[in-house]
Amino acid sequence: MGNYYDELFKLCGFEDEEIKKERHRIEASFERLGIGPEDMDTADSWVRQNHDVSLEGVRKLLGAWLKELIDLVLAKDEGKKIVYFGFPAIIGPGLMLSASSEEVFVSAPDMVLDHTMGQIFNKLTPILEAGETNGLPQGHALCSLWQAKIGGIAKGMIPVPDLALASSYYCDMGSKADDLVNALYGVPIAYIDGVMDSKWGEYPKYLPERVHYLGAQINQALEKAEKILNIKIATDAWERSQKDSGPFRANLVKLVELMRADPVPISICELELLEALSGSSTGRGIREGIKAMEILLIELEKRVKAGMGVTKKGAPRVMVRLGHTSDPRVTRLIEDVGLAVPLTFILGSWGGVKVKPKGNYNTPGEVIADYEMTGGYYYGTEAQIKFYEKAIELMKLDGFIAQYLYNCRPVATISHAQKKYLEEKTGLPVLALEIDNFDSRAYSAASLRTKVETFAEMLKAKKQH
């Protein structure tokens, strides 16, 4: 016998059998999340409004996020040892923990809440408000992902973790908010520290001590995790985790190829669903995401062959940093004003432009650290900006919408320099757009439209002449 949520779950790619099998878990998690029959109409229309559900791959991606949500909410009840990490984060240590024990659940819970309570149920605001009243008040440019995480815990929606992996190599706020979780709930923390101290002009070079230090910190955090979680990290955990997530990366490369098409076959809102999954889940979400991508790639190949796309053929093509994690309307507005988005920072970094790691490192921590230095994201501001510059070798572009997140200091460092640098180096126009990428209450689609619309008109005029 069906239930009130069946249609929504089918819309989100669940098969009948899956719903039947998961029914008990769905209901238990919904109870914890405060989701009931009265929420279904909103959720149904919200999903249809924001996502291209004509694509099965998209529906399955939404389903992957829902599965991650259910696993997250019930992890404690199901006897899992829970590890939270922040977003963005060096995912390697989380993948290794996940690969070492089936008893361990490792996730970025804020991203899961954003993509489900935000993108599917449109019920994120009360969670953010709970974060604001539990140590992260509004009006101070504090991270809204952290507000979601603290809010989710405070409301009892998501469990208190057994361990926090703190991304002390990147985000000051995140590590300090881990201290807040420790102060409020006594959660032990494994800090992974690093220092972004390369001098401007050095990228892609970096001192070996940056790798040694970050690598040693990763190794140390893994040792601490072993003790706290009472597990043994398998000697081949790194290789296994790479093997497990390998298909995801391979599919991203294929996706980059498809995104070269004109018109662009898929919206950035759908791309965001899969890009974010790779940095948020280490378990079922990512495995389901890989399956969803495979379906999606076939669908997109058909679209490309048929000349179908989400914007008009010949539309100006812009690279953006990333899509909104909780409110796709903010991202969609870029396409609504007639701009095609064939490339994002994440798609480019996973599926495209590469700087080779130096190699010659032996410990898992150093191997991961070396890889991340070349990736650019955790190297520093210069690398992030140069990554945009390199992207024009990967994809024909007419401009950049280089968002910077006002409440994320590591990203906000690029606010002005990226526009000057990219315009000088590439000759392409750049819109530096200040946003909150995780919370649309202050930086809504409506508030951003004027800026993006004007930029789009300028690009269209430029393209015609």
């Binding site: 992260l136 807040l180 001098k199 910077y404």
Partner: protein, 379 residues
């Protein structure tokens, strides 16, 4: 007081004096935070100058051309001064050294590297955790700095030279410590404003002259009458208290509060440490500047500093704590949420949290809040 007059007079001629000194010495500018061992600069016969001017909201408009608003106003001020040249000390230095602590400092370092490439600079990182591998990283950083300074000045930093400069800096720290400790007593004559002025002056002044000034100050204080005993004793803490940012201290004083201890990461010299002068001197510097020093709020966990504040609150017999943070310095903002509970539990003391963006408009509300707080703890 003659000591303060002497400091004032020395600072008035400091810029022309530095201009003359440039003929034979390099001037090394460095950013605030207390992680640059001045000993290294002095050991190669160069002159250290720390950039600690801020408090003027107008300079933030200059910074707005280079960085968005959402950074600590002290570091945006440094961006404004660097790019506009409105702080003359930025114009006089030969090399700028930036010990990178958090992302606010990194915003400054990026501006320095990208927008003013003509200014020679050197950066090294300060880890955010305290352990053996972090200490090694810091030591590697200051060893790179040593090499840079030797190349830049053409003077080898020998053990002998380094030991002499360590002794000089130890003496300065010792004098600051002596002055600060006087305030544990009920009968103390050290006005916090004077102590802070000495601190700020020490970042710019000639080291030997500064030591003379501190010695004179101690002599004068010993002969001075104690300050009024009735004013509530206040522990004043936060991220940054620099030259030109006197608004909050002024209001506290006007409200008859007596600051007996200032604990700030930027703008107050870490004076509790003493660098050892035997063995491997570079390791001694790292040990003292990185491991022994009480960490700022952007270290994780922040427990060491918070425990230290509890200890200071007790040892200095304070009636309350005023926590003064700058806008958008998230490490301090987050701690300010859960620390009052710890302080209350451990000492029974209340805490007032103030935030500033160096805006004159803040004065009225701050005055009301500070007056109310002091009236409350007076009872």
């Amino acid at each position: 007081m003659k000591a303060l007059e002497k400091l004032d007079s020395h600072l008035k001629t400091r810029l022309p004096d530095l201009n003359k000194a440039k003929e034979g010495h390099k001037i090394i500018g460095y950013s605030a935070g207390g992680y640059l061992p001045e000993e290294l600069v002095l050991a190669c016969d160069a002159i250290p100058i720390c950039f600690i001017q801020a408090g003027n909201n107008a300079i933030l408009r200059d910074a707005g051309a280079y960085i968005c608003r959402w950074f600590d106003p002290f570091w945006r001020s440094q961006i404004g001064y660097l790019t506009s040249g409105k702080d003359p000390y930025y114009n006089i230095v030969d090399l700028i050294v930036v010990p990178i602590t958090d992302n606010h400092v990194r915003a400054f370092s990026n501006t320095l590297g990208y927008y003013t490439p003509e200014v020679e600079s050197f950066v090294f990182g300060v880890p955010h955790v305290k352990d053996k591998i972090a200490l090694d990283y810091y030591l590697k950083g200051i060893n790179r700095l040593k090499k840079k300074l030797e190349d830049f000045t053409g003077i080898e930093i020998t053990d002998y030279r380094l030991k002499q400069s360590i002794k000089l800096c130890n003496r300065e720290r010792e004098l600051f410590r002596e002055i600060s400790l006087m305030r544990k007593s009920d009968d103390f004559a050290v006005d916090s404003k004077d102590f802070v002025a000495l601190n700020h002056g020490s970042f710019i002044a000639d080291k030997e002259i500064m030591i003379d000034i501190l010695e004179l100050f101690i002599q004068e204080i010993k002969d001075s009458s104690p300050l009024p005993k009735d004013d509530p004793r206040i522990l004043f803490t936060g991220s940054t208290l620099v030259r030109g940012d006197s608004k909050v201290m002024g209001i506290i004083e006007d409200s008859s509060g007596a600051i007996v201890m200032e604990e700030f990461a930027e703008g107050i010299r870490p004076y509790w440490g003493k660098v050892k002068t035997d063995g491997y001197l570079m390791a001694n510097l790292a040990e003292s500047y990185f491991m022994d020093r009480i960490c700022p709020g952007w270290f994780r966990p922040g427990t060491e500093r918070l425990n230290y504040l509890v200890k200071l609150a007790k040892e200095y017999n304070t009636a309350g704590l005023i926590w003064y943070q700058l806008m958008y310095r998230e490490s301090y903002k987050v701690e300010s949420y859960f620390f009052p509970g710890i302080l209350k539990k451990e000492t029974g003391l209340p805490m007032l949290v103030l935030e500033s963006e160096y805006d004159a408009m803040e004065t009225g509300p701050m005055k009301t809040r500070i007056e109310t707080f002091i009236e409350t703890i007076r009872r």
